[in-house]
Amino acid sequence: MNASPAQRTLTIMVAVALAIGALITAFPFLWMLLASFKPQREALDFPPTLLPLAPTLEHYVTLFVQLDFGRYLVNTLLVVAISFLGLLIMAMAGYGFAKFEFRGRRWMFFLVLATMMIPVQVTMIPTFLILNAMKLTNTLAGIALPTLVSGFNIFLFRQFMSTIPDEMIEAARLDGAGEMRIFVSIIVPLAVPIFAVQAVLTFIAGWNSFLWPLIIANDQKLYTLSVGLSLLNQQLAVNPSLQMAAAALMVVPMFVVFVIFQRHIVQGFTLSGLK
């Protein structure tokens, strides 16, 4: 678009409006970060101050030293790593639904969509009993398994895979490539953008996972960050700053991941045929 002076003024106005909106949106996050550096006494002060008057790192030290947050962090990363396996399974499913005609496709895909409509609270106890029967309670695999695949993500994969030209696949078949080989050497490289999106979504979900780690783990050694944080969230420890520090510890890494990968994320959605 040609940038006339009027257009440029409008762009600046939009930029200012967006910046104000961004500040308001991110304010609770900013508040959390700043409060995490306040001593306990200051956090309870009224009227509140935005900036910590006597900034301290004591709460972060407490988290790591006293509350085993180092271990929770490792567990969280392990859960995220396992859930990345789900990406591959969902990509395969998306490809299958997008590029093959087969008996039962319609109702299977309907099932995929239907699972999006089931509230988690509903399925918690049956799911737990299933995992228990599979002897997977108290394992990291058991924590990751119930959320390994999701209808929403399979749907996104399918949308993306539909945009891959059939000719490419046919050409590879004529060259004698096997189906699995086509998937691995042609489809997966083409699907990098959607993998990027899904990786970030998976990371967010795994990072914040609370319910399953809590229920499946019979051993504190398997707790994740979210569960660790909720251990603090109780009446016996009225220390808002400590809680804020724990919360910040959870959000900041996600923020960094997003800032690094955001270009790929937007691109991935763009190419996923969601237009």
């Binding site: 009224f46 106890i125 737990f128 009993l129 809590l214 051993d219």
Partner: protein, 405 residues
């Protein structure tokens, strides 16, 4: 319980190699709270002495229901579990807790007469069966701001609920946004305590839940009256710690954890606030006996080790040690009388109140059932102006058939 994690296997191996004692079955303990570190320190001598490995798992208070429910469903629970008194009946009814009547005989440390009367033996038995051993005590006392009461011309804290109501009204008149007292909207035991203090109960002679006693009517008068006077904040998100520190609510009924929070957050208020036993109603100043017991999970495969651990936890010196580590009150009489506690002026008040405290009626599922219906009825009267007779009729209908039998 099957424990197959490598870590515990290694730990067990290490115990075997280092101490040379026979490998006893490990005991898993679920405790409520923010960290297992203190509990690990507490039981370390027990582990050395007996060679029994104790694995502690801290369960967040917020998630106790989910955690206990799923463990009941699978039978894959811990060996020993800390259980709040208000949930005791629910889990005992489900058969999740091992009946201890016949077993405690072999463990003199677990004899009911060792424990505070409010929770000992039959007081926390479910359908005549002892299913748990008292662990920590907790009770509610009156917190008050000496400085604010004095400035308003009150030399002493209120001795009766009537006096409290009148004082609260005066204190509320201090200014806009000021109150005299605070009633947490989630505090279902408070109206029950008010009922007891006025000579009533919410369970009749047959053991059925019954909200028709004159004592309960007096409690409703008090509860609604404090609201009608404007003496208590009507917002549900009132923060009692900040409210007390700032002086907005200079009187309230709460437990020892509040004293700890105040001391931590506002050391400069030292000497300006105090606690005392509950004000009296027409009959008594009985308070709530809260706290937690320890139960043995029905599916345990280490009942002897579990009971040994419970006996260790019930030793007066262990209980005193726990008070020092974690600030929670003992349930063992001898420990309550220990000089380490008796020297603490706050603990003296708690101990005095514990001597006149009762547990909530052991109805099935207090928190999710009778307790929440009670709060719903009372709060609908005070918050939305619902008709008292209708609200109480609804309460009676919703809790019909509930009993302690």
């Amino acid at each position: 319980m099957r424990r197959t994690t490598t870590i515990s296997a290694l730990a067990g191996l290490a115990t075997l190699l280092l101490s040379g004692t026979a490998l006893a079955a490990p005991v898993t303990v679920w405790i409520m709270g923010d960290s297992s570190a203190n509990f690990d320190a507490l039981v370390a001598p027990f582990e050395t002495e007996t060679g029994i490995d104790v694995e502690t798992v801290a369960i967040p208070w917020d998630a106790v229901d989910e955690k206990l429910t799923t463990s009941v469903a699978s039978g894959q629970g811990p060996d020993v579990v800390q259980i709040g008194l208000s949930k005791l009946r629910t889990f005992a009814d489900a058969g999740a807790l091992l009946p201890l009547n016949d077993l405690v005989a072999g463990y003199p440390g677990l004899a009911p007469e060792n424990f505070a009367d409010g929770v000992a033996g039959d007081a926390t038995a479910v359908a005549g069966q002892i299913v748990s051993v008292p662990w920590i005590s907790d009770t509610r006392v009156l917190f008050y701001r000496k400085d604010i009461l004095e400035a308003a011309g009150f030399a002493n804290p209120p001795a009766t609920w009537d006096e409290l109501r009148a004082m609260a009204k005066t204190l509320t008149a201090r200014g806009d946004g000021q109150y005299g007292y605070y009633i947490p909207q989630w505090d279902s035991p408070l109206p029950v305590v008010m009922t007891w203090d006025n000579g009533g109960d919410i369970v009749n002679a047959d053991g059925n839940v019954d909200f028709t006693s004159p004592g309960f009517a007096a409690a409703v008068d008090l509860y609604t009256g404090l609201h009608a006077d404007g003496s208590v904040p009507k917002n549900g998100d009132f923060d009692q710690t900040q409210g007390f520190i700032s002086g907005i609510a200079p009187m309230l009924v709460s437990g020892p954890y509040l004293a700890k929070a105040i001391a931590g957050a506002a050391p400069e208020l030292d000497g300006k606030w105090g606690i005392t036993t509950l004000p009296k109603g027409s009959a008594s100043g009985t308070s709530l006996f809260a706290g937690s017991n320890m139960g043995v999970f029905a599916t345990t495969d280490a009942p002897d080790e579990s009971l040994k651990l419970l006996e260790f936890l019930s030793k007066p010196e262990t209980q005193v040690e726990w008070f020092k580590l974690n600030g929670e009150l003992p349930s063992v009489k001898a420990a309550l009388a220990d000089p380490a506690l008796a020297d603490d002026p706050l603990v003296t008040v708690y101990a005095a109140q514990l001597a006149d405290a009762k547990v909530l009626p052991m109805v099935s599922n207090w928190d999710g059932g009778v307790g929440s219906e009670l709060l719903k009825a009372l709060n609908s009267i005070v918050l939305t102006g619902a008709d008292r007779a209708t609200a109480l009729a609804n309460l009676a209908a919703a809790t019909a058939g509930e009993s302690i039998n």
